[in-house]
Subunit: 251 residues, 2 copies
């Protein structure tokens, strides 16, 4: 079996290294990831300049490449160029440093790498570790090994990926897993205005998370309650329910 692994934290991030080493028991690992931090890249791709690809040493016979593009670029070039003659059986993205919950998946390079994997026709999973500092990626890697085996057994619909978030808890305090819906996240949208030493104004996006209520079946509540969250995320974006309504409009 061959597994392609990407992420948005960059090829040298701790999370992707732990995932690559954790998955080695299941088959040949190919890491194709951005050559630097590309968080919040969304589903951008690179059309107007070429991509550079450089081999990277991650140890233990893992083939690893850093790409001068976005997470979606990495999956595209990974499947269609680097692994052209040895196509993957499955694509993983992560382990991301920090959660990708609720409608934040929209901004997530981690999730977009997995969605690009599905667009390219492969079962794909995004994995994120909640928290920011001194993270232990062990529980997330261990759960992913189990999940990959089950996905290969059960299959996934071609328009759906799995989005996994692991709570920031020691392995023995994680209560299990829940299959969840994406919840709702909103931020206080505040721009902080500053002046450069040369007097030019610039703006930082600031402002933290709003404390919104979310239902128990959502990914946000599941991780808050100590469960690993697994959400099926699809990309049929049409709001079919609205089509007949809008047909009545006067245009």
């Amino acid at each position: 079996m061959r597994i392609l692994i990407s992420n948005d934290d960059g090829v040298s991030a701790e999370g992707i290294r732990e995932l690559a080493h954790g998955m080695k028991a299941l088959g040949d690992i190919y890491v194709v990831a951005p050559d630097r931090q590309r968080s919040a890249a969304g589903h951008g791709i690179t059309l107007h300049k070429p991509l550079y690809v450089e081999e990277v040493d991650l140890g233990s016979g893992i083939r690893a490449y850093g790409v001068s593009g976005t997470p979606a670029d990495c999956v595209k070039i990974g499947v269609n160029e680097i692994m052209k003659d040895t196509p993957p059986d499955l694509i993983l993205s992560g382990i991301n440093q920090g959660s990708n919950l609720g409608n934040d998946v929209m901004y997530s390079g981690t999730v977009s790498a997995a969605i690009e994997g599905a667009i390219q026709g492969y079962p794909s999973i995004a994995v994120s570790q909640c928290g920011y500092k001194n993270l232990d990626y062990g529980p997330a890697a261990a759960f992913t090994v189990k999940l990959v085996q089950e996905v290969l057994k059960q299959g996934l619909l071609p328009d759906t990926i799995l989005n996994v978030n692991v709570p920031e808890l020691p392995a023995n305090e994680i209560k299990g897993h829940k299959i969840t819906s994406l919840g709702t996240r909103r931020y206080h949208q505040i721009y902080e205005k500053r002046l450069s030493p040369r007097g030019t104004p610039y703006y930082w996006l600031a402002g933290g998370l709003q404390d919104l209520p979310n239902e128990a079946h959502t990914d946000i509540e599941a991780t808050k309650d100590g469960y690993i969250s697994v959400s099926p995320v699809h990309f049929d974006f049409t709001n079919h329910d609205l089509i007949d309504t809008i047909k009545q409009w006067n245009l």
Copy 2:
């Protein structure tokens, strides 16, 4: 009435200028758009560096700003900083040079600006003109004026935007409009390898559109048949149908 207009082709693109001037009859126009071409930016946002905002002259009393960020950044800073005290009634993105059809909306900065508008709580519409060269944006601008008036009368669900694509035809050859679902697009994914003058390999994403059959009710077929396509696009990404199935898995 106030309308915020953004795009992904940049603040000086012909399409946004035509849209801004076309909408003037309906109210005050604020243009907040990337300071350069940001096509295929997807839903990226800028977290790791600050944004610069510069006033731009588009003539006719239109307030216009170029922002050193992505389309989604422009809508965020437009609503939360530039228009903080004068919030818009509606957000438009476009008129894009080139179509945004089917699952290509995933990569589209034009569509992501509209989706960010909806996330921020405003009715939002993305408008694209099919074709690439010597485009006439007049029919798209005229249809958008009608559509905006109807959207303000009918309202839009908070999680749904409208994605409009106008066929590349003279106004009198456009057959009307259709309310459509997003179709399916696939590309021949080919990377072209070249060598720089210093011998470093690099890769261009090449390869054209595959000729896939699409059903008559899709945006792809509607525009091919000479109709303006209007698709309701939502961003509830959960595949609710799969939740019970995955609950049966052995994890």
